[in-house]
Symmetry: C2
Subunit: 331 residues, 2 copies
């Protein structure tokens, strides 16, 4: 049988247990030109919250009654597709379920002799790609820049910050709690860390970056985006990658009151969606894989088990109770 997480209602605010339903259905037969994949790991990402809203966005919403959309990695168990063999490890958009049937669109093979499966949905998957293209192409970091990153202990932020370090920047991370901050400094080599749950973000930015910041990589929005705007330098670049603080709002999104700092400082605020860079994923994965082998880029996954634990695991995205990339093992 194939256990699946089905979207049963559109959440208002923070999703609840009844937002989804766990159902079992027959493992589908594999028609010609298709491949059946047994999913091993499901990627849990803040973006999933946005996909549940019935609004125009960069991809269509998940429909009520559909399997919840998610990135996955797993093994081909049946193939009627010339490109895939049984045993191939593939990553794609399999959804929160134990088996996926696909014509191969959006899937690609990975080599688990180089990195373990969860890394391919983390640092070498969408979050890592988001960090790579966001900080390099949109943030346009250069040696000597002072770079501020929110959600810095998360799957995207931790990679963005490490890439900035590799490129010779001074990097300050914002994260929740002393343990995550210690991780940023001791493990990832950040130059400074700000605990937004216990410290004044705006004051601490000033302390760590007395001359202001050149690049701000934003994963959170809200008050932290405003604090960053208040401390940008001339010609600063702000990368709008996400706004996790706002995703479960039941009222209007909090717009950045300090946006006129863009005028005073001739700053640029630019949004990004990782899918635009798909043609360069291979090159990026190669470069990041090289950094990982040299020990310059560290990857950390926080792996939970059992598809029936999808809901409490999903909640950790928003409570912050996780260490690194959040992954659910479903086999």
């Amino acid at each position: 049988m194939n256990k699946q997480i089905i979207l049963t209602q559109r959440p208002v605010g923070m999703p609840k247990e009844e937002t989804w339903n766990l159902q079992s259905s027959e493992v589908p037969a594999c028609p010609e030109g298709h491949v059946l994949i047994q999913n091993h790991y499901i990627s849990l990402d803040p973006a999933m919250r946005g996909w549940m809203n019935n609004t125009k966005s960069y991809i269509p919403p998940v429909e009520i009654g559909d399997v919840m959309r998610a990135g996955t990695i797993g093994k081909v168990v049946e193939s009627k597709h010339p490109k895939y063999q049984i045993g191939d490890v593939v990553s794609g958009w399999g959804g929160v379920q134990q088996y996926s049937l696909t014509s191969g669109q959006g899937y690609y093979k990975v080599d688990t002799s180089l990195a373990p499966m969860p890394t391919y949905i983390g640092t070498l998957g969408m979050p890592g790609m988001t960090a790579y293209f966001g900080i390099l192409e949109v943030g346009k970091i250069k040696e000597g820049d002072t770079v501020l990153i929110s959600g810095a202990a998360g799957a995207v932020g931790s990679v963005a910050g490490q890439i900035a370090k590799i490129k010779g920047c001074k990097v300050i991370g914002i994260a929740g709690g002393p343990e995550k901050c210690k991780y940023l400094i001791d493990e990832l080599g950040f130059d400074g860390a700000i605990d937004y749950k216990n410290e004044s973000v705006i004051r601490k930015i000033k302390e760590h970056a007395p001359k202001g910041i050149d690049v701000y990589f934003d994963n959170v929005g809200g008050d932290i985006l405003d604090a960053a705007l208040a401390r940008i330098r001339m010609n600063a670049r702000i990368v709008i990658c996400g706004a996790i603080s706002q995703y479960n709002n039941t009222t209007a999104i909090q717009g950045p009151s300090n946006y006129l700092s863009l005028l005073v400082n001739r700053g640029t605020m630019q949004g990004m969606v990782v899918m635009d860079y798909a043609k360069d994923y291979g090159k990026a994965a190669m470069e990041m894989g090289g950094w990982m082998m040299q020990g310059k880029l560290k990857s950390r996954e926080d792996i939970y088990e059992g598809i029936e634990n999808f809901y409490p695991t999903f909640q950790r995205l928003f409570t912050g109770e996780k260490k690194g990339k959040l992954v659910l093992k479903v086999i």
Copy 2:
């Protein structure tokens, strides 16, 4: 005697009559290396409101007791400076007063055989330069773009819109009242006009630009910025030139709630300050002067008289009761 408008207190919200004081002082003697200018026209601009706040910005604030800062145009009446002769017409930062003494810094000579004095503090002055560099360098307009402009009947917006027309764009202007909207269409050749005082801006943008907008040139901020953000196309550019709706706020600036549209649409929001383009003013003035002579670029000034009428004239910036560039004749 030299009549001067002196800043006497920092306004909270909309400036009041007692924010300034009209005083008379002796016309200063002209020391070596200096030039004495009799100011003919004072430029009244929304940016003046920002210069009165005691906050870090792109230039230092006007201090209490100082002559109110303003752009001016006038004639040299005494010169102990090798570069200037009596009778030269010069534009610069003379302030709201009848005579200015200067070493020449920030001043430049203009040729009134080509355009009348008020045009040199309007379309061929700071507002025109702001429009020129804002729409071309920051907005990066190209033929076929759909361009939306707020404050479109004002000194900056009217020029930005006309330049976009010259460059082959479809141009929609937002202005207050049917008369200004008629002016945009009938006189300036805009493709569409939205009367924000009597129409739903967001609905009208959709009507005029069913496929969305490529460039938004923002002079106003607030709800209109949010409406524009809701209707941007992929890779849109938003030029943050000003935010007149917010300048007299006594509470926090209204940040754009729809800023995540930048993410969905991979948009860019960039701030600008005209002074950064000073080295290219000459080239821009030449090109704009050419367009004016060909009848492609129209200039309209709304001229009031008497330095003692500074306050009621200044108010028109914010009530919108003006037709084109607001100018005060002080001689």
